[in-house]
């Protein structure tokens, strides 16, 4: 887990995260794309496992066909050639709140074992240590998108036992009570980190390690997690990025390496 190791693998940890995340979009009809890495992940998925994937942006774009990697979720390349552009009211009301969104990517400064996310503040709200961006659309996305995929780099300070602030709800810890919420969303489905991939246990709603990335160990996971992680009895190894995935990332999606190296 150092620079040498990364060179040996032939890909960066970020590239591993992107590839592992993109594959989770297989079969998805549409995806609500967030800022940053999810942008690259969705664009990769569209070029690999989900060619018919409609990219939806909270900026009001449905069915984007970006000719370049968008610089933000509001890049003009998203508007030109899209299927539909709507007001943000309609995007949030008619698409998201109505339950039309299959998958959304979220991330955050903090996540807990139930997939609750904090993108608001580190420290107390009124006297913050670090003021983060806040919800944006995350709070309602977490509630309404059918599936939530979380991409986050793993560290003790971000995978925490207790959030400083709950911006977006995850699982409650009681699946029966979750089902009774009557939300379209089933909450976080997967978490992809630079160490491995996690699912959520059906009976407890708790984050569970499913695969480790090549070169990573359970010790790495323990060292970067604020609670004792549940581990799947079938713990496996994450499939490595393919040559084609790496080519797409490096040549088409992030040629300058700004996001991925």
């Amino acid at each position: 887990m150092n620079a040498t190791a990364e060179r040996d693998l032939g890909y960066s940890r970020t590239e591993m995260m992107i590839a592992a995340s993109a594959r989770r979009l297989e079969g998805a009809k549409n995806c609500f794309v967030g800022v940053g890495l999810p942008n690259i992940v969705c664009n990769l998925a569209q070029r690999t496992v989900a060619r018919d994937l409609q990219l939806v942006y909270e900026s009001g774009v449905f069915g984007a066909r970006p000719e370049r990697l968008p610089l933000s979720i509001g890049d003009p390349t998203l508007a030109t050639g899209a299927t539909a552009i709507t007001s943000m009211f309609e995007l949030f009301a008619f698409y998201l709140q109505a339950g039309l969104i299959d998958v959304a990517f979220l991330g955050g400064a903090q996540i807990d074992r139930f997939g609750n996310l904090n993108t608001t503040v580190i420290g107390p709200y009124d006297t913050p240590k670090v003021r983060l961006p806040g919800s944006g659309g995350a709070c309602e996305i977490a509630i309404h998108a059918r599936h939530i995929l979380v991409i986050m780099r793993q560290a003790k300070r971000s995978f925490v036992d207790r959030l400083d602030f709950r911006t977006s709800p995850g699982h409650s810890g009681d699946p029966a009570s979750d089902a009774a919420r009557g939300w379209h969303g089933t909450g976080p489905t997967s978490v992809v980190t630079d160490l491995g991939t996690y699912g959520f246990d059906d009976s407890t709603g708790e984050m569970t390690l499913m695969t480790l990335h090549q070169g990573m160990t359970l010790d790495d996971v323990h060292a970067n997690m604020g609670w004792e992680p549940k581990v799947s009895p079938d713990l496996g190894q994450t499939l490595e990025p393919t040559t084609e995935e790496l080519r797409l990332i490096r040549e088409e999606l992030d040629p300058t390496g700004a996001h991925t190296r």
Binding site: N30, F62, R65, G81, A82, T83, A84, E90, A93, F94
Partner: protein, 299 residues
């Protein structure tokens, strides 16, 4: 159209054929009559001649509406006979104001359990419709509003000028509540004047009213809105609207009309042919082009 209606419209459904004076899909209504669907609840802001025909055709047991008339002409006689004289049988009604109906669709499209509006104050409408209920703002002003419930038709049928094969549909001219009705529908049929290449839609994404993701069937059916109109394609056939007043006044004349113009015809193509090309030519407007805008290529 035959398959779309056969597959997606079921006896007992709540069906909304929307379009405010503009883009009213008469062809879909005729097909529903032809297929002898039964016990439908018909929702529409303005039932218009289309629902008078459908009610006369025996497909409906209930009407949800906000303005019940032949616009610019007068009454809808078949519907009035059902309501006033239970002739040939009663017709249940549930009525709102226009804004109430629109907001029912907005709530249905938005998955909202209710929608607040400032209307119905000191009106008798809430007295005859218990679904319109008062509510008080939780803020300091404690403003009184009324709320209406969401309307989620089992089937929404909307017409558009053009759509691609996936159902991405573009509309110009009067928008009515086509978008809201489509998003509110559990099943959605988009009928259009022309099916176009996806690239035509993607050239002007701001023009897209309805995305294919909510659409279950796309039907290309030119002149499907006759005697209503499709902006830029054909004018309202006002002579027919006037004539309908005469036809619908007499149940026998109406039955004869339904036999001749609906039951005895197999498809809307037959209907177009029966009217004849001179009729359609006369309804064509002149040109009034929109001009283009530049979205810019960002590659």
């Amino acid at each position: 159209m035959r398959d779309a209606v056969a597959d997606l419209v079921r006896d007992g459904d709540t069906v909304a054929i929307e379009g405010f004076t503009h883009l009213i899909c008469f062809a879909a209504g005729h097909e529903i009559i032809r297929q002898r669907k039964r016990d439908l609840t018909l929702a529409r802001m303005t039932p218009d001649v289309i629902y008078d025909q459908m009610v006369a055709g025996g497909v409906a047991s209930k009407l949800i509406f906000s303005w019940l008339g032949n616009p610019g002409v007068g009454s809808l006689h078949a519907i009035r006979r059902r309501i006033e004289d239970h002739d040939p049988e009663p017709l249940e009604i549930e009525e709102y104001s226009h804004f109430g109906m629109v907001c029912r669709y907005v709530a249905g499209a938005s998955n909202l359990p209710f929608f607040p509006i400032r209307s119905y104050y000191e009106s008798d409408i809430p007295k005859v419709n218990p679904k319109i209920v008062p509510m008080t703002s939780p803020y300091d002003d404690a403003t009184e509003v009324y709320v209406v419930p969401p309307l989620r038709p089992d089937v929404s049928i909307v017409h558009a000028q053009r759509a691609d094969a996936s159902g991405d549909a573009q509309i110009w001219g009067l928008l009515g509540c086509q978008k809201e009705a489509a998003f509110a529908g559990a099943r959605v049929i988009v009928v259009c004047e022309e099916v176009v290449e996806e690239s035509v839609i993607r050239q002007d994404p701001n023009r897209t009213a309805i995305p294919g993701v909510v659409v279950d069937a796309v039907v290309e059916e030119p002149f499907a809105c006759h005697p209503s109109f499709a902006q830029g394609y054909y004018d309202r056939d006002n002579a027919f609207y006037l004539d309908w007043d005469r036809i619908a006044r007499d149940p026998e004349t109406l039955d004869t009309w339904l036999k001749e113009w609906v039951f005895d015809l197999g498809t809307h193509a037959d209907y177009r042919e029966k009217w004849g090309s001179a009729h359609w030519d006369a309804l064509r407007p002149g040109d009034a082009m929109s001009g283009e805008v530049d979205y810019g290529r960002y590659a």
